[in-house]
């Protein structure tokens, strides 16, 4: 068993790279007091905009920039509703996911397939892997827990009135959090299409919801988020290994595995769970 895990570990790390980015983005936003259920939609839109941008420019860098722009567009919608209109964040997030599915499918069918698909992964897209597993966590650890901005952002999630009383703007901090999430989700969505064969309808297949579950599993801590993603990645890699070796296990039941694992992860949060005090308000 240990040998098998060592064997699949590299695969697990690569395969769960977009998930890890999404987890970290959502962690920042939830620490700031918002639940962005529309993360799934953000990644989906980013997957489309990144491949469009990459095909037009033939550059991975501009592809990812396009992904970030697409994710930011969705973040803009979410921010206006959640921060300024004080709308229910679950309803808003659900609407955003529908919006993303509808809009990407609509645009996708209007475009010639050559614009949104590719035969080989665009060069340079794998640079995201170390970025997600090393650079992003270190930067987040410093920004969220070692700067006064991070302290204020976390206060926005715990007690927004205290932030106001201290003379800072909750609105500005939450927008910045959404900005960080746009970068993360944009890279994640971009990786999904740039590192593989381009865009396909509904290609995020629930990764946004996995990310939200892992944030809870990790108890809103960075280390927990990394551990949760790694655990999830190993489970996913074992599934690939099983898919290749055990041919008698029905394909669809294997496909259901990540969702079952996520359910178990959500149920495995034993003991006391304390979300940020003002989460979702």
């Amino acid at each position: 068993m240990a040998e098998l895990i060592l064997e699949v570990l590299p695969l697990a790390i690569v395969a769960s790279t977009p998930l890890l980015l999404a987890v970290q983005g959502e962690l920042v936003v939830q620490r700031g007091g918002m639940i962005n259920l529309g993360l799934e939609g953000m990644m989906l839109v980013a997957a489309l905009t990144s491949i469009l941008s990459a095909r037009a420019s033939e550059s991975a860098l501009l592809g990812f920039a396009g992904g970030i722009a697409g994710a930011a567009l969705i973040a803009l919608v979410f921010g206006v509703f959640a921060i300024h209109l004080h709308a229910d964040q679950i309803v808003t997030g659900t609407a955003i996911n529908l919006l993303a599915v509808g809009a990407t499918s609509f645009v996708y069918r209007e475009l010639p397939p050559s614009l949104v698909t590719q035969l080989v992964a665009i060069q340079g897209s794998t640079a995201i892997v170390p970025l997600a597993w090393l650079v992003f966590p270190i930067v987040l650890a410093i920004v969220l827990w070692r700067t006064s901005f991070g302290l204020r952002l976390r206060a926005c999630g715990e007690n927004p009135s205290a932030v106001v009383a201290a003379g800072h703007s909750v609105v500005a901090h939450r927008w910045l959090a959404l900005g960080i999430e746009s970068i993360a989700a944009g890279l994640a969505g971009g990786y999904l299409s740039l590192a593989y064969s381009g865009f396909a309808e509904n290609m995020t297949t629930g990764r946004g919801f996995f990310a939200l579950s892992i944030v809870i599993f990790g108890r809103w801590k960075l280390r927990g988020a990394l551990a949760g993603t790694a655990l999830f990645g190993i489970a996913a890699a074992l599934q690939y290994a099983l898919q290749a070796s055990a041919r008698d296990v029905p394909y669809h039941l294997l496909l259901a595995m990540p969702y079952v694992v996520t359910l178990l992860i959500l149920c495995g949060v034993a003991g006391k769970v304390r979300p940020p005090e003002s989460l979702g308000r």
């Binding site: 609509f106 919801f209 939200l212």
Partner: protein, 320 residues
């Protein structure tokens, strides 16, 4: 009355935005609108299509309305719809009534998994219900490719179900369900407790409501409604199960319920509207090669516009 006006305006704005989006991508908005209208209510054939699509939407909308009224986020209509249809298929040889009863039971059981996870493990139902949707989709995929595949084993689909409803036979059932739900919510103690739980669970607890049990029941009723939708769709429309059976009816139910302001009777109107939209969008795809996803897009836009209206109203009532 004002709420009704809001709903109508939201629906009109959403369709106008779709026409604009179509124009931006080079389709004539006029042609787009005329196909949308003719394809949904322009002929008796189109009207029948609209009514057929409205039946599942009415019921999934009702499912969402009941759950949201109780303050639980059942986003799992899609999965409950699928397991409802699976159970209906398995029970279809015992007749229509047994088949639909099985559909309701299965839907209720599927939604209750999320309830159990919330009660015992503190897992938020908004995520568990969504995850259960994906699991139900794969379960259906496995069933139609494996143990429940048709006897000739040619396509990934089941044989014809052992019982059938007339194609529009689901419509009276769905309307009766909406009326019964209205009666339950507004004319019985159970409904009062359910609404109180959603309105303010702390106050409800002080008033002697067993909030956990109330949520569990609301979730089960909600799942039963979505399961019934799946059963009716199988017995009345498709007669077979196949991989893409659910076609997003569960998620669309959220838009249906919100446009109806979570009111069971208004759900009938809102279900008919979205039924027309889905049918018209199907016609757009067939004749103008525009993705039927515009219907999904319109649902999202309707929800967002309704949120804006709600925010404006709140601001007017309590000026800051």
């Amino acid at each position: 009355m004002r709420r009704l006006a809001y709903g109508v305006v939201a629906a009109i704005i959403a369709i106008a935005l779709i026409a604009l989006a179509g124009a931006a991508l080079g389709h004539s908005p006029r042609q787009l609108l005329s196909i949308l209208v003719n394809g949904s209510i322009g002929s008796s054939f189109a009207i029948e299509g609209t009514l057929l699509k409205s039946v599942p939407l009415l019921l999934t909308g009702l499912s969402v309305a009941i759950a949201f009224r109780a303050g639980v986020w059942n986003i799992g209509g899609e999965g409950q719809f699928i397991v409802g249809a699976l159970a209906a298929f398995l029970a279809s040889r015992f007749g229509v009534v047994a088949s639909l009863a099985a559909a309701m039971l299965a839907g209720a059981a599927w939604s209750s998994i999320a309830t159990a996870m919330r009660m015992w493990r503190n897992a938020p139902e908004v995520l568990t219900t969504i995850l259960l949707n994906f699991i139900a989709i794969q379960l259906l995929g496995w069933c139609v490719n494996g143990p429940m595949q048709e006897s000739v084993r040619q396509y990934p689909q089941t044989d014809t179900a052992g019982a059938a409803l007339p194609s529009l036979g689901g419509l009276p059932i769905a309307i009766v369900a909406c009326v019964v739900a209205w009666w339950m919510l507004y004319r019985t103690a159970e409904g009062l407790r359910l609404r109180a739980t959603g309105f303010n669970p702390f106050a409800a607890r002080w008033a002697g409501v067993n909030v956990s049990a109330q949520i569990a029941r609301a979730m089960a009723i909600s799942g039963a409604a979505a399961g019934l939708a799946g059963g009716i769709e199988l017995l009345g429309v498709t007669h077979r199960l196949f991989e893409r059976f659910a076609a997003g009816y569960g998620y669309s139910g959220i838009a249906v319920a919100l446009l109806a302001n979570l009111h069971p009777l208004a759900t009938i109107l809102s279900g008919l509207f979205f039924g027309a939209l889905v049918t018209g969008a199907g016609e757009l795809q067939r004749t103008a090669n525009i993705s039927a996803a515009v219907a999904t897009l319109a649902q999202a836009i309707v929800i967002l516009i309704l949120i804006v209206f709600g925010a404006i109203e709140k601001r007017r009532r309590w000026p800051s």
